[in-house]
Structure formats: structure tokens, C-alpha cells
């Protein structure tokens, strides 16, 4: 009889499911093998120890708590528990996501406030008469293909700003080049009523310069 068979017969005997054939085989094994007899004795003793280990009653308030939760599940949720509560709950479960979203929201708000504070109302992108833009300390902006030849250059303190308008069909784009260090504010404005003059204003350290340059917003000469 292999050790595996012995183990299976002992387990079945202890659990009360051994067949008469298994019982007979086990009886033969333990009467002829002291080690098998000792293993059987220890298994029976363990069985008694485990059976004597007491069960506990479920907590008295468990059923009430379960039924209360079930009742809450059936109740329609108030409006306040909508997407915002779900979002807050998901953030509390995933704090990294919460921090990332809070950071993004803060960054977005900051950028928006900065833009509003420095640019004023949004430009009318369809009509460039009122289009203006402000950049703070951008080293270079190039929104047009090369080849523009109408340009204006302004030197303000240590800064040199060049505005070039495209010649021959680059839409409404202009090219700005900035050289120099430190804070600088640049404003571009279409000047009414001609609709073909861009006013470049450069301000650095409280000093303001401005210059007009002709352009052709329809792309012709």
C-alpha cells in the first residue's frame, strides 16, 4: 500500500466516507505497520481537536446591517449623489488620480486667469481688426512660412523684436522673433480702419515702443 493510498484511506475513514474495502485495507495496514498506526492515531486525535474547536455565532446586528444596506441600495439616490459624489468617491479610492486632476484643474485655472489678465477679451478670429496677442518672454514664434519681407524691428532695452508679415498668401499669419533675456510683453494689433496695418507694441521694464507695419491679410501683394 503506497503512502498516498494510506493517506486517502485514513482521510476517508476519519470523514466517515470509507468503503468497507478501504476500511479493511486500512485495518490491515495499521496492524502490520507501527508508523501507519501512529499516523492514524494522530489523525484521529487532530480530528477530535478540530471538532472540539468551538464555532461562534454571527454578530447579532449583522442581519440588520445587511438589510439596511440592501434597503439603501433600493432607494433612489438624491441628485447630490450624482456624478460629483461619484467623482469624489473615486478620488478617495485612487488618491494619485485625485492629485493629478486637482493639479490639472489648478494649472488650467491659472493659465486662464493669466490669459484674461494679460490679454483682455478674446480676439475675434474671423475679423483681424481687433485681433491682438500678448506673449511673455517667448524666445521665438514662427507661425508663417519663410519669405516674408515686410517687417518692423523694435529695440526696447536689451530686447530686439522683429515682426515680419508674409508676402503672397500665408493667410493671416505673422512671424515674430525675439532676442534678449528677461520679461517682455508683446502686443500685435490690427489697426482699423485700414485692415492692412499691424501695430507691434513691445514693452520691457516699463518702457513701451510701438511701430506699424503693412501686411496683406488676403495673401496678395
Amino acid at each position: 500500500m503506497s503512502y498516498e493510498e494510506l493517506g486517502r484511506d485514513i482521510s476517508d475513514m476519519i470523514d466517515g466516507v470509507a468503503t468497507p474495502r478501504q476500511a479493511e485495507r486500512l485495518q490491515r495496514a495499521i496492524s502490520g505497520d507501527p508508523e501507519a498506526a501512529e499516523l492514524f492515531r494522530q489523525m484521529r486525535e487532530l480530528d477530535t481537536v478540530l471538532r472540539d474547536s468551538p464555532s461562534e455565532r454571527a454578530p447579532a446586528d449583522l442581519k440588520a446591517a445587511v438589510l439596511e444596506s440592501v434597503e439603501a441600495l433600493r432607494r433612489p439616490r438624491p441628485a447630490a449623489d450624482g456624478w460629483f459624489a461619484t467623482l469624489v468617491a473615486s478620488f478617495s479610492r485612487r488618491p494619485k488620480l485625485g492629485f493629478a486632476c486637482a493639479f490639472s484643474a489648478g494649472l488650467g485655472t491659472g493659465v486662464l486667469l493669466l490669459v484674461l489678465a494679460t490679454r483682455g477679451p478674446w480676439p475675434d478670429l474671423q475679423n483681424h481688426e481687433r485681433t491682438s496677442g500678448t506673449m511673455i518672454n517667448q524666445p521665438a514664434i514662427n507661425q508663417s512660412p519663410p519669405g516674408g519681407d515686410r517687417s518692423a524691428t523694435l529695440n526696447v532695452r536689451e530686447h530686439r523684436v522683429t515682426l515680419t508679415t508674409p508676402q503672397g498668401g500665408a493667410g493671416d499669419d505673422v512671424r515674430l522673433e525675439v532676442e534678449g533675456q528677461g520679461p517682455i510683453a508683446i502686443t500685435l494689433r490690427g489697426v482699423a480702419p485700414t485692415d492692412s496695418v499691424v501695430r507691434l507694441e513691445v514693452e520691457a521694464a516699463g518702457e513701451l515702443r510701438q511701430k506699424d507695419v503693412e501686411w496683406n491679410p488676403r495673401g496678395g501683394n
Binding site: S11, E45, V49, S53, P54, S55, E56, S69
Partner: protein, 180 residues
């Protein structure tokens, strides 16, 4: 509980009768609580796991297949909740390993040192052995029923029980714990 009675209670619950669900809870809460308690070794965790399991069972009741026995279905849910609870606890214990020892929260029936030794030995068993022993002794299930719950052949259940018993003999009988 008779299987047909279970199914009737399930049917009534699905029809909106929460009292029927209360009867289901009544009928199986004690063996399920002991299952969770012996798997987790902590009363508070066992209660939380069981409550979560009952709520999950309620919300998933429509997925229960009446061809199978209700107890096997809900035992599996409780076991999964207990395993989840163990995973969460391990993560927290890893995080809290510099905090003061939390062993006073664990289940230690001071009045009965033998029960304590049995529980400590159980907690040292590999989980699949622990499940087999707990289902056999504290849920009083047959090999066939254990096999159904664990989704393994009966032969595997017998083998796990035998191996678990061998380990427990080493942990308990060889350490001087004897039947009273």
C-alpha cells in the same frame, strides 16, 4: 436548509421581497461567519467581509443559476470577499509595519488557549489547505460539497485535507495539543 426552500427565497427576493432575503441571511449567516472568521482570524474583518458578501450576493442575485445549490454560490462569494480582505490587510500591514503591533486586534480567545493555538496553526496553512479544513470542520460540508464550492475534483479535496492534516499534526499534536 433545503435547496428548494433556498430557491423559493431567491425567487421572492428577486420579486422585491426583502424579508425573503432576510431569511436567507438568517439561514446561512452563522456557518458563513465561521468560514470568514477562520479564514481571516479576526472578528472585525470577518464581519466586514460577510456583510460585503451578502450585499454583493443581493446585487448579483439575478446571476445565480438555480440549477446549482445556493449555499455553494454564496460560499464562493464569502470566500472571495475573505481573500480580498486578506490581500487588503497584507497591503496595509506592509504599510503599517513601522507602527505599533496590531496583534491585539486579532482574534485571540484568551479563555481558551487551545482554540487560540488551533487558529494560529490554521493561519499558517497555505490558503487552499485552510479553505478545505475550514469548510470541513466549521461548515461541516462533505467532500462533494467542498469540491463544488472550490471548483475542484473530490480527489483534490481529499488530497488537500490529508496534506493539511499532516501539517496541523506537526503544528498541534507534536506541540502538545491533545484531544480533551
Amino acid at each position: 436548509m433545503l435547496p428548494d426552500h433556498d430557491k423559493e427565497l431567491v425567487r421572492k427576493t428577486l420579486a422585491g421581497d426583502d424579508r425573503a432575503f432576510g431569511e436567507l441571511v438568517d439561514s446561512c449567516q452563522t456557518p458563513l461567519y465561521n468560514l470568514a472568521l477562520r479564514l481571516l482570524g479576526n472578528r472585525e474583518d470577518a464581519r466586514d467581509a460577510l456583510q460585503a458578501a451578502f450585499i454583493k450576493a443581493y446585487t448579483k442575485l439575478h446571476t445565480y443559476d438555480c440549477r446549482y445549490r445556493f449555499f455553494a454560490w454564496i460560499y464562493r462569494i464569502v470566500m472571495n470577499e475573505a481573500l480580498n480582505s486578506l490581500k487588503t490587510r497584507r497591503r496595509h500591514e506592509e504599510l503599517d509595519d513601522r507602527l505599533p503591533d496590531r496583534s491585539d486586534n486579532r482574534w485571540s480567545p484568551e479563555r481558551d488557549s487551545q482554540s487560540r493555538l488551533v487558529q494560529e496553526a490554521l493561519m499558517r496553512l497555505p490558503m487552499n489547505y485552510r479553505q478545505a479544513i475550514v469548510l470541513r470542520y466549521w461548515s461541516d460540508l462533505s467532500h462533494k460539497e467542498i469540491a463544488e464550492i472550490l471548483s475542484v475534483p473530490e480527489k483534490t479535496v481529499k488530497s488537500r485535507l490529508f496534506s493539511a492534516r499532516q501539517l496541523l499534526i506537526r503544528e498541534l499534536i507534536h506541540q502538545g495539543v491533545h484531544a480533551r
